[in-house]
């Protein structure tokens, strides 16, 4: 009824008002500028607000100026005034001015021919030139493996992950070192035989074939046997002759060494860290005390002192005549150090598991080991993956410290090339540091993005 009449009333609209475009100053670049930049500095309604507006204006444009001039400086250094080619093979001459004994007319920026000439050193160190394919192969396997693991829809991810954590390190070690390690046959035999015996004893013990004691402790004995077997097998594989030339570790260097140190550190520290984290939360006081002492000790001292210790003091701690590779000593130091940090990361994950999980496991009749293995760790480790990635980023950056004890990692080898008189120019060191900085940045930034992505995925709470 009213419908009918209201339609006829003249002052009522019968159609929608036209949709006007938004005001010019609220869209596009101007709108963005007004909303995101001007809004903090256009309030002059009171004295306080005016002061704050002026402050923001000065801050914004001051910072913008500094930022842009830095950016311009970088662009100028790396592109505009940089030298890109060295067609006549002048080496340092091409990057120095006439006054400095070169051919350039003006002072030059980055000296890219230097990077080109030394690139192989940066990546492989002094690895023999004809054997470089081995390093490449290790790199490629690593890249494929990691991409596979990151890509969530890839098939067999579990198996690839297992491969990367177990077989890959051994294969990489064989490829890089060349095998033919001269271990005493008796040592390898000892590990293999003892490992097999312990393993058998454990298995049979669990089946109640070897009496009370082994029935009760069969699990531990089995694990111990497996550990010995693994050590023995790795030694065995390393000592085979694969027809590869042996490359001593003092020829490893560059990015390759950086990756070796960082990856070994992370792979070795994960199991130790898990044991320590479980120990720190153990009900048994001795385990707790030992874990806390270990963790707090290594976290309390700087890595450089650990490296000094492993390079200077380790030989004194071991029996006379024990021969130890320099790289291996550094790796031991790095692993001991990073496992303390890893333990804290894992502990964070363990603490996040609710008590109900433990109680549920108990209700199902699982014992402490089974609870940890089947209920707690799978959940906890999943939570701490971002933390592990972050620890890895820290470790990756910290590998540069090995240069102080005389190993040539990426930064070490780059610094070492500054001493080459053939390439000594005023900008060589700046160019080298830029390259090193960029490579490290690329790796660390990439990994930190990945860790943030994982965190977001795991983070199911409320977000703003």
């Amino acid at each position: 009824m009213t419908n009918q009449t209201s339609r006829d009333i003249a002052y009522l609209r019968t159609e929608d008002a036209p949709v006007l475009p938004p005001p010019v100053d609220s869209i596009g670049l101007i709108g963005w500028f007004k909303k995101n930049i001007l809004s903090s500095m256009n309030d002059f309604s009171s004295f306080g607000a005016a002061v704050s507006s002026v402050f923001y204006a000065v801050l914004t444009f001051g910072l913008l100026y500094i930022g842009l001039s830095l950016l311009w400086g970088l662009f100028d250094f790396t592109v505009l005034s940089a030298v890109f080619n060295d067609p006549e093979g002048l080496k340092r001459g091409v990057c120095t001015t006439v006054a400095q004994g070169g051919v350039a007319e003006n002072a030059v920026g980055a000296c890219w021919p230097y990077v080109k000439a030394k690139w192989q050193l940066f990546v492989y160190g002094r690895y023999p030139a004809e054997e470089l394919w081995r390093v490449d192969l290790v790199f490629i396997m690593l890249a494929v493996g990691i991409l596979w693991l990151i890509w969530e829809k890839a098939p067999f991810r579990k198996w690839v992950g297992l491969f990367m954590l177990t077989a890959y390190p051994v294969i990489a070690l064989i490829l890089l070192g060349g095998g033919k390690a001269d271990y005493e046959q008796s040592t390898v035999g000892f590990f293999l035989i003892a490992g097999a015996l312990f393993y058998l004893a454990g298995v049979l013990g669990l089946r109640d074939k070897l009496g009370e004691v082994l029935l009760a402790f069969g699990g531990g004995v089995k694990v111990f046997g497996i550990a010995l077997l693994v050590i023995g097998l790795v030694m065995l594989f390393l000592s085979f002759d694969y027809g590869l030339e042996k490359v001593a570790t003092d020829r490893w260097g560059g990015l390759m060494l950086t990756l070796v140190v960082a990856l070994t550190g992370i792979v070795a520290s994960l199991p130790i860290g898990i044991v320590l984290a479980l120990g720190r939360r153990s009900k048994l006081p001795l385990f707790r005390v030992l874990s806390v002492a270990y963790i707090e000790f290594w976290r309390g001292v700087p890595l450089i002192s650990v490296l000094f210790m492993s390079s200077v003091m380790l030989p004194l701690f071991l029996p006379e005549g024990t021969d130890f590779d320099k790289l291996l000593r550094a790796l031991i130091g790095v692993a001991l150090f990073s496992s303390a940090y890893m333990a804290e990361v894992v502990r964070g994950g363990l603490q996040a598991i609710s008590k109900g999980q433990y109680e549920g496991a108990q209700a199902l009749g699982l014992n402490a080991n089974q609870t940890n293995k089947m209920i707690i760790l799978p959940q906890a480790l999943k939570i701490v993956i971002p933390g592990i990635v972050n620890t890895f980023i820290g470790l990756f950056k910290d590998t540069t410290l090995v240069l102080i004890i005389g190993l040539f990692d990426l930064l070490g080898i780059i610094q070492n090339t500054f001493a080459d008189a053939n390439w000594a120019t005023p900008t060589t060191s700046m160019t080298g540091y830029l390259v090193a900085g960029f490579i490290f940045w690329l790796f660390c930034f990439g990994m930190s993005r990945y860790s943030i992505f994982l965190e977001d995925k795991l983070h199911t709470g409320h977000k703003r």
């Binding site: 400095q100 004994g101 008796s186 040592t187 200077v312 030989p315 004194l316 071991l318 005389g406």
Partner: protein, 336 residues
């Protein structure tokens, strides 16, 4: 029971393998000499881009390998920092340390080391930029000095400046590359280390000709190879490897003519090259040990001129390192 015994037996064998035997037997068993060298000092021990070691310290190690195995390539090198070197030697990580190490009484007597002789007579020198117009170290009052934390360099320079009543500033770096860089960029006015080291590091400067080495030598630095105390046989081999090279120069044998000299009638030549007497056997080597050294590595003159002599970038004159006959102080005991 049986199981336990088996395990013990295997463990026993494993342990026995790692127990220390005499150094020479050890070296022969593993098939190479492990030699400690510096982390990079041109002319003494340095790697080229391909990773091959060169230098006078390196050649000494090759000579030892030649004497022991008759093959100068059976040697492996461990680059060591100043801090690590003695621990590396005493822990058995290396068999001989040939790393421009100064022979001092403390080291010889308190650190459990034995110096096998002097491979190079050196002294601490100083380098300054030419633009300072300084001609003598006595004019360096007020200078900033860059050094590499060695063991004696800082002590020597402090003593020198203090005894001359001059003020100075000491900037001490852990790695030699950083010292050179700091000096080159003008952080310091003076660069100091062993004279030979100064000549070597000078090559790394942007404009080597803008810098000069001052005439003063402020310390005695006899550099030589070092072995562990308590193994006389190994000590003898180290000592006589060096003596053989010096004697060879004195007697005019070099890698070129050693084959001819093998036929020499001269009794002292015959003793050196092992064609008469059992001098090699007495120190646990083959009798032609010295002939191997000379043939495969060379006599002292050859390795000097190849690595640090006037025709190399280092351009070091023989000076005191000449034979005693030609006005130097190089004097090796005779082989008889």
């Amino acid at each position: 029971m049986k199981l336990k015994q088996t395990i013990l037996a295997i463990a026993g064998v494993a342990l026995a393998g790692s127990l220390q035997a005499a150094t020479l037997d050890d070296v022969k068993a593993k098939g190479h000499v492990q030699c400690g060298v510096s982390q990079g000092l041109p002319g003494f021990s340095n790697t080229d881009d391909a990773g091959n070691w060169t230098g006078i310290d390196v050649d000494y190690c090759r000579a030892m390998a030649a004497a022991i195995f008759g093959d100068a390539s059976k040697v492996k090198f461990t680059p060591l920092s100043a801090k690590e070197r003695f621990t590396a030697l005493s822990s058995g990580e290396i068999d001989v340390l040939s790393r421009n190490t100064t022979w001092t009484m403390t080291r010889d007597t308190q650190l459990g080391l034995n110096f096998a002789g002097v491979l190079y007579y050196d002294g601490q020198g100083m380098m300054v930029p030419r633009e300072l117009g300084v001609t003598s170290a006595k004019e360096l009052d007020g200078a900033a000095i860059c050094v590499n934390t060695g063991t004696t360099t800082e002590l020597n320079i402090t003593d020198y400046f203090k005894s001359n009543g001059m003020s100075f500033e000491l900037v001490a770096f852990e790695k030699s590359d950083e010292v050179v860089k700091a000096y080159d960029s003008g952080r310091c006015n003076v660069f100091t280390t062993d004279r030979s080291g100064v000549a070597a590091e000078r090559l790394k400067l942007t404009n080597p000709n803008d810098h000069m080495v001052l005439p003063e030598i402020i310390s005695k630095e006899p550099l030589g190879p070092v072995v562990r105390q308590g193994d006389d046989q190994w000590f003898n081999i180290a000592k006589w490897t060096l003596n053989a090279m010096i004697n060879a120069e004195e007697m005019g044998v070099d890698s070129g003519n050693v084959a001819d000299m093998m036929k020499s009638e001269d009794p002292s030549m015959q003793r050196l090259l092992g064609t008469s007497g059992d001098f090699g056997k007495e120190i646990g080597l083959e009798n032609n040990w010295a002939a191997n050294i000379i043939g495969m590595v060379g006599n002292y003159k050859e390795i000097y001129e190849k690595n640090v002599g006037p025709d190399t970038p280092l351009k070091l004159q023989r000076g005191v390192n000449a034979l005693w006959k030609s006005g130097g102080i190089l004097y090796a005991p005779p082989i008889r």
